[in-house]
Symmetry: C2
Subunit: 426 residues, 2 copies
Amino acid sequence: MGLVVQKYGGSSVADAEGIKRVAKRIVDAKKNGHQVVVVVSAMGDTTDELIDLAEQVSPIPAGREFDMLLTAGERISMALLAMAIKNLGHEAQSFTGSQAGVITDSVHNKARIIDVTPGRIRTALDEGNIAIVAGFQGVSQDKKDITTLGRGGSDTTAVALAAALDAEVCEIYTDVDGVFTADPRVVKKARKIDWISFEDMLELASSGSKVLLHRCVEYARRYNIPIHVRSSFSGLQGTWVSNEPHSEQGARKVEQAIISGVAHDTSEAKITVVGVPDKPGEAAAIFRTIADNEINIDMVVQNVSAASTGLTDISFTLPKTEGRKAIDALEKTKDAIGFESLRYDDQIAKISLVGAGMKTNPGVTASFFEALSDAGVNIELISTSEIRISVVTRADDVKEAVQAVHTAFGLDSDSDEAVVYGGTGR
Amino acid sequence: MGLVVQKYGGSSVADAEGIKRVAKRIVDAKKNGHQVVVVVSAMGDTTDELIDLAEQVSPIPAGREFDMLLTAGERISMALLAMAIKNLGHEAQSFTGSQAGVITDSVHNKARIIDVTPGRIRTALDEGNIAIVAGFQGVSQDKKDITTLGRGGSDTTAVALAAALDAEVCEIYTDVDGVFTADPRVVKKARKIDWISFEDMLELASSGSKVLLHRCVEYARRYNIPIHVRSSFSGLQGTWVSNEPHSEQGARKVEQAIISGVAHDTSEAKITVVGVPDKPGEAAAIFRTIADNEINIDMVVQNVSAASTGLTDISFTLPKTEGRKAIDALEKTKDAIGFESLRYDDQIAKISLVGAGMKTNPGVTASFFEALSDAGVNIELISTSEIRISVVTRADDVKEAVQAVHTAFGLDSDSDEAVVYGGTGR
């Protein structure tokens, strides 16, 4: 029995009852002989309430002070959780990100972890305590200012601490039972995945699956920390994410599936730059403009140019939230780059099939397209990686498309059991 | 133009509007050429809400975790205040008690400041910032745990920082215009005191005046830091508390009054131990019992014993909140000590006359008793110090008594201007 890091999201500790329920679960792990480190997010709506206050006093809150403000959220939940555990007769101490040794760079609101020096956590554990650590926050290496890690930051805190403490596993508790073969709100017969490789999980995360964020999985892969995503409401085994299938503690030894799952994403828009002169440097100029405006893009497709005109079209997808900025930036360079026009389309969906098995199963791409075609879904863009195929379709088609692909690849569950599915907190 | 420390209580920063109003006042001080350090309490009801949450998860919240929880309150208010100041175009940085170098002992919930090492504050000031510091909190010297300073802790933080930074003045902003010659809710003609000595202020504070707590005044006296208590709602000069009358910046040079003011306190109860054998060690046994139960007592009176019985009565006053505990503790020792019975009376008021001038004006005590007698107020206990006379009366008599004494010593104001009076936050 070694050290376990458990992470609980905001929905798991939304109120006093939730905190007491989580405290019981933590104490159970301790009773089972584990050393337990718990990473906790802010309670339910706390963060939104703090953001609302900030907007009332300042239209554009400063990064350093905004981080100072937001980190009050975890301070509240972690102290309450430690109290609830002590009330059950076990020793617990809470630690801020800074006290836990979470050292970051100085980029406020989206800092990156540089190092973790968990000396105080180690001491607390050695003294028999359960250690409760504030997720989402750290302290900057140079200025010793409080920082926050941005979206999904608490998961990253948990994985980083698990790595620094050489934990057996990082358990991410959330309000769903694990990672599913598709979004159960869309596909009724979506199955919970028992085990998935880091690589497939990374592709699912970047293709729209919201249970784990890319950044956290990337960190876990780098330090080879097994993640166990599971529900804080049920006692069920969830999904193991690791290099190799997990065979201990009752989890079934599972074979790697050809296909891990189908992800979809309706948060992106598509921009098409129409009538771009097909000569060296044109595409570069377009994407330099986008990059200079710090806009992240996803898929990029350029068609072969029409021989008659010497002009080509370049399409790319990007978060809808960045759409306005990108259009404005490109409009300004229209004459310099010499394209004809811009088309903006935010009624798209991206559907992705993910699975390492497709490397050695050449029929996967064909089956994917056939399934979409049979469902009457038109494909607008295609992009592939070694273990993923993504297409862009009309947003209206997303449900039929995901359902059809899920069935075609034999992912449908036999059971009709209802599953609950939601997003994670930070 | 030197350094000014300003402290704002919870009622001054109760909401976004309050924070913006306070930010303007701070910026004004900066524009006048001062270096400004601001100590801020938690917003309005935040602390009560956090205590309520704590009680929901644990009936007796642990000290360390309770402090961690409560300190979230100042973290929110200080970050918002810094944002509001930056929004007015001035540089500001907020600092936790720990970051500001407020080093305390390890007694959670009522820690004492051991040292203040404000290196980061000094640097922030030298870089042109307004420094915002969380009141009420520090970090323990040995364990590096977050601590809170207990009641009135934010005022103490402000005075301690003012001392460590060698400030010109510590301005305590509150919801009243200053310290008054009596509680204006009781005495309509109470006058705002322009200047009062540390010694008189200490006596007023321990006699029921709630504007400044004893502990904060004691700290200011030790380091000779002038305090200026004033309203955050008006722009008026308030009350200066210092060694010598203040003559700068428009404040009138004032002569020391014979009497500074009349304080009253209805928060105490009286316990009389009846029929105590008048022999050595009896009183000691009673008060050892009280002390062992960590009960603070105030006035103590023992009458001459009746020659016929060899028995005496011992009376003392203590906070009503400690009454039950004291009675229970004494009952247990009844046989050992050998007293006859206990009487408990919580319908009392303590009325105190404070002023260094009474040292050299022998008629003060007589005038005080005459005023009470003329008002038909009966005196039950008397206790005096060099610069204070206190009596215990019936609680029902408190208004007439305070009013009569206030008038008798010429403290009534000529103006009928209404004044607002209330308690301070923490």
